[in-house]
């Protein structure tokens, strides 16, 4: 079991036991589909805000944001700002009208607003596409964290990564199927506060306890502006994988040597470190076949501004506190748009707005969400920056956790940063708390995604088309079966990520993949929701055109980019259109306006408004129901565990 961390595993087991206990407890209160999918629609603002935050803060936020900052500097910080900013679109344009309309799910809204089964089915496809894109990074996070935490497989699965995927998949399947939305809500509240506590504790550990660098004799304590100045004072370096064949080129090998020399200059004993690292590279070259990959360190290049590298005499230069490591000028805007628009297109988040007791409560919930996640997103980039210096210090001191791989003083996989820095700054106990926090982040988000996917199939397809006369018992059974099916699908996706080599194609893969899910949601749903709510002239055909252009277009862009990164085709010889598509990391800057334009043009040409459009309009924007609820005191939260219990 190597570097097995007993405390960490015990804490994760406690979290899992608590999760299942809450699910079993809440089962007593889940007897109708409204309970199973919407927690009875009476969740208070603070509780709902905690649950939304738990739902929202996924592996991407807990592991991915700090990792992205560690790998990409300022471009990584944008993930945090964009994830937070997304809720503004929800609160300004979506939350209250969606609650007023009073349906169960986004496909219900699509059906209610546009009046056709075809529209509902398009929305179901959109929900499933977005959810599956979002499940992928959660499962990758599960495998990665398990690998760092346990480092070995169990129960007949010999691969540590795959074990993590299976364990998380099975646990989440059980607790969502048993607890439904009430159990999931309660769990998400607990999980949110655990992961927020873990992130704050990590910051406290790196700031006040610090790390004793025995190589230099310094007590390293995180200071934001000083650390940022230190890390930005020299060229930014990053890990890369080159084949043995590539390293056989003397020019490439010489560049690797120069880069390693620069990376070594930041260590306590540069000469010794340089010799040891180059020896490792030479050994790997001598032992490897031509196509085997070797970890090296390289100078990073700014994709936004041309910066001169005085050592190489080229423009391969980048500094930590400047933009441009990941994104060129197009992607700078496109990524921001994908993040701020995508939140409003995430079905598992929108589902949560139906659980509010009133429109006003929906807005209050969103404000609290912004406070909770805002604090979290201010802290995550600090931890990412602290990691740049402290991981290096730990390598210098010879105490860096053996469960992670390093090259040139850097983590090979930045997604392993959170558990690694927790171990460095806070020992086994903090690593345990952080690892449990990582699992909490995955559980809470996966649970929301499973509920959203299950409701798309169980509620929107089975109840409406397959068996409209189904009893409550049958409906809940189908919902639970759908949860089991999608949990297995999530496990399969988790397995496929390293099997296809996607994990080595992108740095900070978790945050990247989540942003893809945001881009799909931003393309598929947000134009339809915005125009459906705010433009009476939107027709069913217009909305479908928007979903095809926005959602379908985004999926095509992402897959072409992914295939290019996996080198499945040669961009240089490909069709210029494919080359152009492949160059875009996030297509939202094109797909979102294109979807809006498609909705506008097709709606104008079509002109077939639903016959009851005035009635629909009154349901979305009218307030008679809310006035009536207020008169009878029904605009107040009733607590999650109220209502009829099972006998």
């Amino acid at each position: 079991m190597g570097d097995l961390n007993v405390i960490a595993i015990v804490l994760v087991i406690i979290l899992v036991a608590m999760t299942i206990a809450l699910s079993i407890f809440s089962r007593r209160f889940t007897r109708t589909t409204a309970d199973f999918y919407l927690a009875g629609r009476k969740v208070g603002s603070f509780a709902n805000a905690s649950a939304i935050s738990g739902d929202y803060l996924s592996a991407a936020s807990f592991l991915g944001v700090a990792a992205a900052v560690y790998a990409s500097g300022l471009d990584g910080v944008w993930y945090a700002a964009g994830f937070a900013g997304g809720f503004m679109v929800v609160v300004f344009f979506i939350a209250s009208p969606l609650r007023r309309f009073g349906e169960y799910t986004v496909p219900d809204f699509a059906f209610g607003r546009f009046g056709t089964n075809r529209m509902r089915l398009f929305a179901v496809v959109g929900v499933l596409a977005t959810s599956l894109f979002y499940m992928a990074p959660q499962m990758y996070g599960a495998g990665t964290t398990w690998k760092v935490l346990v480092g070995t497989g169990i129960g007949g699965v010999d691969n540590a990564y795959n074990t993590g995927v299976v364990v998380v998949g099975v646990i989440i399947m059980i607790y969502v199927a048993v607890g439904g939305m009430k159990g999931t809500t309660m769990n998400q509240i607990v999980q949110f506060w655990w992961l927020a506590f873990a992130m704050m504790l990590t910051l406290i550990a790196v700031t006040f306890m610090g790390f004793n660098n025995t190589a230099t004799g310094d007590l390293m304590r995180f200071n934001y502006s000083d650390y940022l100045a230190q890390e930005s004072s020299s060229y930014m370096m990053g890990p890369a994988k080159l084949t043995v064949e590539e390293l056989g080129d003397p020019e490439v090998y010489a560049n690797v040597e120069v880069a390693m020399l620069e990376a070594s200059s930041k260590m306590a004993d540069p000469d010794t470190f340089y010799e040891a690292e180059m020896d490792k590279i030479d050994e790997a070259i001598a032992a490897g076949a031509a196509e085997d990959k070797v970890n090296v360190v390289v100078f990073q290049k700014n994709k936004l501004h041309e910066l001169k590298n005085e050592i190489l005499g080229t423009n391969d230069a980048m500094f930590f506190n400047q933009p441009g490591h990941r994104y060129n000028s197009f992607d700078q805007f496109s990524m921001v748009l994908a993040l701020v628009l995508g939140t409003a297109g995430l079905p598992h988040i929108l589902n949560r707005y139906y659980t509010n007791p009133s429109g006003s409560a929906a807005r209050r919930s969103t404000f609290w969400v912004l406070v909770f996640i805002g604090v979290f997103y201010v802290v995550s980039p600090m931890v990412g920056l602290a990691g740049r210096l402290m991981v290096r210090g730990a390598i210098d001191s010879g105490v860096a956790p053996a469960t992670a791989d390093y090259v040139g003083g850097l983590l090979v996989s930045s997604d392993a940063l959170m558990p690694t820095i927790a171990r460095i700054a806070g020992g086994e106990l903090l690593m345990g708390i952080v690892s449990a926090g990582a699992f909490a982040a995955m559980f809470s988000t996966l649970a929301g995604l499973l509920i959203a996917s299950a409701s798309a199939v169980g509620h929107d397809v089975y109840e409406k088309y397959i068996n409209p006369d189904a009893s409550e018992k049958q409906k809940v059974f189908v919902g639970k079966s759908a949860v089991v099916f999608f949990a297995f699908l999530a496990m399969l996706i988790g397995y496929l990520i390293p099997a296809t080599g996607l994990n080595t194609a992108y740095p900070a893969l978790i945050a990247m993949m989540v942003t893809w899910a945001f881009a799909v949601g931003a393309g598929a749903f947000v134009p339809m929701l915005l125009t459906g709510i705010w433009w009476k002239g939107t027709t069913e055909r217009g909305a479908i055109a928007g979903m095809i252009v926005g959602g379908g277009g985004t999926v095509i862009f992402i897959f072409v980019n992914m295939f290019e990164a996996l080198k499945l085709f040669d961009v240089a010889t490909a069709n210029p259109v494919i080359e152009w598509i492949a160059s875009m990391t996030f297509p939202t800057l094109y797909t979102f306006p294109a979807a809006l334009i498609a909705i506008f043009i097709v709606s104008k040409l079509d002109g077939q408004l639903p016959k009851n459009v005035d009635e629909i309009w009154m349901r979305i924007h009218g307030n008679a129901h809310e006035r009536w609820e207020k008169e009878h005191g029904l605009d107040k939260a009733a607590g999650i565990f109220t209502g009829e219990q099972k006998q």
Binding site: L74, V77, W78, A80, A81, A84, G85, M88, V89, V91, F92, F93, S96, S225, D226, L228, A229, Q230, S232, S233, L304, H305, N321, Q322, P323, S329, Q332, F333, V336, L337, V340, G359, S360, R363, R364, T366, F367, L370, G374, Y377, V378, P381, N612, D614, E615, W617, M618, R619, H621, G622, N623, A624, H625, E626, R627, W628, E629, E631, H632, L634
Partner: protein
């Protein structure tokens, strides 16, 4: 435990009635226009500020390159810290204004309902 009253809505093509509370297409249009003005004003400010940040990062060297405090550039300082204060302020003020607008519009809608009922009674 008492069972809460259920809203037996009466829905027609010209009005929706919940108990004594009525939405007509005219009253809803009034609510819609007021809400649209508020939402789109806040939305415009939000997007203007949010998209201005990468724009400055692309175009203005003083923004992305000049260090103003330790290692902080304006770009890093705003994106990593101050942007959240902007978000909280926007969300809080919007929430308060939207609540106030809801109350105002609810009173107006009730008044419209009352006036219509009174007129019908007088005519009867």
């Amino acid at each position: 435990m008492t069972t809460p009253p259920s809203s037996e809505a009466t829905i027609t093509s010209t009005y929706i009635k919940h108990g004594d509370h009525v939405d007509t297409i005219e009253s809803v249009d009034m609510v819609f226009k007021a809400q649209r003005k508020l939402s789109f004003t806040y939305g415009a400010i939000f997007f203007a500020v949010t998209l201005a940040l990468p724009l400055l990062g692309v175009t203005s060297e003083w923004w992305w390159k000049t260090e103003i405090m330790g290692g902080f550039t304006w770009d890093y300082l705003i994106v990593s810290l101050l942007y959240y204060i902007f978000l909280w302020t926007m969300a809080w003020t919007y929430s308060k204004r939207a609540d106030k607008l809801d109350d105002t519009l609810a009173d107006l809608a009730d008044k419209v309902t009352h006036d219509v009922a009174a007129t019908a009674h007088d005519e009867g």
